[in-house]
Symmetry: C2
């Protein structure tokens, strides 16, 4: 097993998490709540014994007696993968917080993962520090693939980790572009790391693991499935500061990722293309409805996404520079448009600050990363600890 | 001289207006103010005698003794044109109101024209009743010309008059597309109607006059000039409910028209194109900065532009259905977000109504046309007379 990732949790904990990841189909919000209450080891034991509330039983009954987490960990080790758990130092707690907040707002299927299977040299906290998802249609055009590779290449060259889904078409072009930078790229899969899927990308996945990471919630051996790609998409959206859609039809998985990113308060961007290209129709729809900002270059992506990245110290949120001293221009106006108690909507902030909506949507998550603002049920407010 | 246009003003008035249009280079705000105060006949007499305030003298001194309006009217008649004046029934007072409002807000060069030379069968009030400007680069691509023709054809087929500037490239394609519908199209020139400019479009201008109208502020014989195209652009923006830019470089006259349209509170739309095409870069910039709404089809143009058109009775603003009874959905929410006294900004209306900004920007001018809302110094408010 790789030794990447810094201080690591106890083997017992890892075994429990492996069991929990196998026993329920992600996301399993009731099981996650049980883990929150009792800890992973105790929760796994209760599930195994069947001593759980009915809701948790519904999520876990089918597999609770047949899971062999030792085998999953051994299978992972054989392909050079490791299980990263929330108790590990490298756990990307900060970006995943957006899923917890969304789950707290009652957004279905926004649950945080109970662990992540990881193949590759990159630490997850570092890989997610400055990260954008670059996604798009499988049935892409040469135009879209060229742009995906070019944009991913430029982003990776600017120290942005390019996340994508390793699918044919735009996803593959994005990974390849980032690898050519050289730059870090991460593939998030909707199947086990050993599934060899998609078949034509097995070698590409190997290169991604060498330069970055291939990650999945699904245990070794789990086959790809349509619903798993949708569940996977929430991780692409959550683990990054924003999602860039290069080409998408009117109905596409990439739009699903973008919608999720928007729901999580992340920046959503889309690349335009020729009118009449079905593969640009989804991008045009998103731009027209103001769900995405139009971008055509790396500079525009970086400008739209605002300050990308985690604070100097990653992890549990301590050690942030909680001060507005360094804020200037639009960021300061956005901060000042927020109250200390009641949450304000993005629309309210736009009206109050005079800062355009797409910048407000980019600045709020960035200010959140700096610990200066926080989300609440009714929107955004100043963080209490902010000086 | 054509007999189109309904009830006509006195010959004396027309002669005075012809003199005023010749004596000062449009727009001539001080001269316009003099006309407002004294009427056209008296104002023309004072200018001719040189008995005017210094500011007006500055606008009129160079030409006041050499103008021969009788010759301009005769020249116009020879090419089948007529001079339409504000005192004529067909004068497009309603759309031109936006220029008066802008001038009242101190926007330079927003002055209303003192008259319009018109060649063609269409009545100006009818031609501007449901009208959109379709404009773009002269150095257009085949892609842009195809789309301009297609969109203009579709709009003309839906009874929208397509306004454009008769230039090579996008403008010409838009006029041709509208003529093929068959539909009404209007060319607004930055030179006299007899200038034969641009040379390659003389036959096209003849066809436009047959099916619609060719109009200009500039008297017969006035040569084209760069600054005149910019002044002309304000008429394209003002006489229509919205401006659609099909292709535009980063710096282009079409963007100037679009900016003016935005300043006048009209809808601005732009067509996307391939990333990397310099002729789409201006459109992409406008969309990214939220200065324009992305559109790719006739249906999207009509949706973005909202209800296009003048009230049932055109002219001086009387006879509108000043009632909110017929309002539904977004239009009603926008109306309700406005106050009776203090003006509200578009941003405020967006926040208050929950209606997206691009729809608010489309709906407010439409509600204004229906006499339900009005502009004031601080933004928009409910019209006092609205029930």
């Amino acid at each position: 097993m790789s030794t990447a990732g810094g201080a690591r949790a106890e083997p017992e904990l890892r075994l429990a998490r492996a069991y929990l990841l196998r026993v329920a189909e992600p996301p399993a919000p009731r099981l996650a709540a049980l883990v929150s209450t009792h800890g992973a080891v105790e929760a796994a034991e209760r599930v195994r014994r069947g001593e759980v509330p009915a809701a948790v039983a519904g999520e876990t009954a089918a597999r609770r007696e047949t899971c062999v987490p030792e085998r999953d960990l051994a299978d992972a080790e054989r392909i050079g993968a490791r299980l990263v758990v929330p108790e590990d130092e490298e756990w990307p707690a900060w970006p995943l917080l957006s899923l917890e907040v969304a789950a707290g707002r009652g957004i279905r299927e926004a649950g945080t993962p109970l662990g992540l299977w990881v193949r590759g040299s990159a630490r997850l906290d570092e890989a997610t520090g400055r990260a954008l998802a670059v996604v798009g249609a499988r049935a892409s055009t040469a135009y879209g693939e060229h742009l995906a590779a070019e944009l991913a290449h430029g982003l990776a060259g600017r120290d942005v980790t390019v996340f994508s889904g390793a699918a044919y078409g735009i996803d593959g072009a994005a990974h390849r572009g980032a690898l050519a930078a050289p730059g870090r790229t991460v593939a998030v899969l909707g199947c086990g790391l050993d599934a060899g899927y998609p078949a034509g990308h097995v070698a590409l996945l190997g290169r991604i693991a060498e330069e970055g990471a291939v990650i999945s919630e699904y245990p070794p051996g789990a086959p790809p499935a349509r619903h798993r790609f949708l569940i996977r998409n929430r991780l692409l959206a959550a683990l990054t500061s924003g999602t860039l859609v290069v080409e998408a039809g009117r109905r596409s998985g990439a739009r699903n990722t973008a919608t999720t990113a928007g729901t999580l308060g992340k920046m959503v961007m889309a690349v335009p293309g020729p009118v009449g290209s079905a593969m640009s129709a989804g991008c045009h729809d998103m731009i027209r409805s103001s769900d995405a900002t139009l971008v055509t270059s790396v500079a525009e992506v970086l400008d739209a996404a605002g300050p990308i990245g985690a604070p100097a110290e990653s992890g549990n949120g301590n050690g942030h520079t909680r001060t507005t001293d360094g804020l200037t221009g639009q960021a300061l106006r956005v901060h000042e448009a927020l109250g200390l108690r009641a949450g304000r909507s993005v629309e309210h902030v736009v009206a109050e600050s005079g800062v355009p909506a797409h910048r407000v949507r980019a600045l709020l998550p960035a200010l959140e990363l700096d610990g200066l603002v926080e989300r609440c049920d009714s929107g955004w407010r100043r963080a209490r600890a902010a000086r």
